[in-house]
């Protein structure tokens, strides 16, 4: 997977877990095309605390284009921002 760290718009579900569950996100590509990607499965989530900056990293998979592809999302807690970290 390649590191992208692209800011995305996200719809997430705050339930009884200790972390928000990402549901689907919208991504802008270079040609101004906005794609909505639905998260099919979340394999794992892990909190990182690099330099004290807490973030949750999710390893997921979803259908992008025609294929089922794996990717990693990162949620930066201090800023409430979601990123497509790796794909």
């Amino acid at each position: 997977m390649k590191v992208l760290m692209k800011r995305v718009e996200m719809i997430a579900w705050f339930n009884d877990k200790d972390y928000p569950v990402p549901l689907r996100f919208r991504l802008d590509s270079e040609d101004k095309v906005r794609t909505v990607i639905r998260i099919g499965r979340i394999f794992s989530h892990e909190e990182e605390k690099l330099g004290g900056n807490r973030a949750v990293v999710y390893r997921c998979e979803g259908i992008i284009g025609e294929q089922q592809r794996p990717f990693e999302l990162k949620y930066e807690i201090a800023t409430c921002r979601w990123f497509l970290f790796k794909m």
Binding site: L4, L50, G51, G52, N53, A55, A78
Partner: protein, 413 residues
């Protein structure tokens, strides 16, 4: 084993490492620590200086404190990043939080240094120190040096031996081998002036200082001399202080990017600095009764004057008036580069003594209060004194962080 064990934990290239970690977390393909890089001050407003450097940058001879310009001359491919203090505070907090689990006696000495009193009798200290270093590296992403000794002085000296990511011990029996061969200026509290004095009498190593007769050094350099003599002999016994150290003074200074040549301009700079000092001291709910002004002219010659006030003050106008008067006393008409004001003899605002000038004080207090609140709500630039319009001088000068008041960078342990 009744000997104390004190740890000194020191982050390697703090500002730079913390910036490197942030960038990696945000997907940067390079680790700043692996390339020649520096954290540099704002190069646009004034001549920036190197605030932190990476180990590869050190190999080019770049030192902390030199100008960014000269750093680039030594290494044209240098990567420079601007400072970001909130990021550093967050990183520092995370380290202190992690270390706090190991002992209740923890002293935050500066933004990147912590003293810790090791009191666990179950686990060997070396094992714990190794774990601390590993956990900081793995969980927080940056490396530290850990110095271990029977007091803060020796622990702090030890952490400064080879870097990065190392643990060093310096106990009493190690002093002759590890501490004494070092040049005397490496000793904590020995600065360039003391070094010159010592060198002048043939003292070049810490050993030579330690072997001096106690009465001799006391009669020559008095109390400070005795202090460094004790340090050279590893004698130091201050406790690891967990509480906050009471702040003794609040000061701000600035080195202007141009020579200030008129009295009017100088007064404006002093007013801008007074604004920041007033802001800070009111935020701390304190007031002070000694105002001190320090100046450096275009040749960087230094002079200072101070005055004790009858009544402690926290008012920007009051601080400014005294600073202006002190400046007028000192100024010989030459171009000035550096201005510094300090308000000391601080005490709590609570028991504010009233004086005959009661109503004047009250009005100024109200004015300061309103201005503070407007600035808090709408930003620092939302309101300022009209004399600064088109003046080319910042209306509020000095200060780096407004959110926290850490008593950083103490000169004493």
């Amino acid at each position: 084993m009744s000997e104390r064990i004190v740890f000194h934990i020191d982050v390697n290239s703090a500002y730079l490492s913390w910036e490197a970690v942030y960038r990696l977390q945000h997907g940067s393909p390079i680790d700043l620590r692996d390339v020649p890089s520096i954290v540099g001050g704002d190069q646009e407003k004034r001549h920036g200086i190197v605030l932190a450097k990476s180990i590869p940058a050190k190999k080019f001879g770049i030192i902390t404190g030199e100008t960014v310009h000269s750093a680039f001359e030594k290494c044209p491919e240098l990567v420079m990043v601007p400072p970001c203090y909130p990021r550093y505070i967050r990183a520092s907090d995370s380290m202190v939080e992690l270390l706090g689990k190991y002992s209740p006696f923890i002293q935050r000495y500066s933004i990147d240094e912590v003293f810790l009193e090791y009191i666990d009798t179950e686990r060997p200290f070396m094992e714990v120190a190794t774990e601390m270093g590993r956990r900081i590296r793995e969980e927080l992403g940056f490396t530290v040096n850990i110095g271990i000794g029977p007091n803060k002085l020796l622990a702090k000296m030890a952490s400064d031996f080879s870097k990065p990511d190392k643990i060093h011990t310096l106990f009493k029996e190690d002093i002759p081998e590890k501490l004494w061969p070092l040049p005397v200026e490496e000793l904590f509290m020995v600065g360039s002036r003391t070094k010159k004095k010592l060198n002048g009498r043939g003292i070049f190593t810490i050993r030579q200082l330690a072997e001096l007769d106690r009465d001799y050094i006391h009669s020559w350099l008095k109390k400070p001399g005795l202090l460094i003599w004790e340090y050279a002999n590893g004698m130091e016994s201050s406790p690891v202080r967990s509480g906050a150290v009471p702040l003794k003074s609040v000061g701000n200074s600035t080195t202007m990017p141009f020579d200030v040549e008129t009295r009017e301009e100088a007064h404006k700079v002093l007013l801008a600095i007074s604004e920041m000092i007033g802001l800070r001291v009111r935020d701390l709910d304190m007031c002070g009764s000694v105002v001190s002004v320090s100046l450096k002219n275009h040749l960087f010659y230094h002079s200072s004057h101070q005055r004790k006030l009858n009544i402690p003050t926290d008012s920007t106008n009051a601080i400014y008036r005294v600073a202006r008067s002190l400046f007028d006393e000192m100024w010989q008409g030459e171009p000035m580069r550096n201005f510094s004001i300090s308000l000391s003899h601080l005490e709590s605002n609570e028991f504010f003594q009233l004086s005959l000038l009661g109503s004047q004080n009250k009005k100024e207090q109200q004015l300061d209060d309103v201005i503070d609140r407007i600035r808090l709500k709408y930003g620092q630039r939302s309101i300022y004194r009209s004399c600064f319009l088109y003046s080319g001088i910042d209306p509020v000068i000095g200060g780096v962080i407004m959110e926290e008041s850490y008593p950083m960078m103490s000169s004493y342990l």
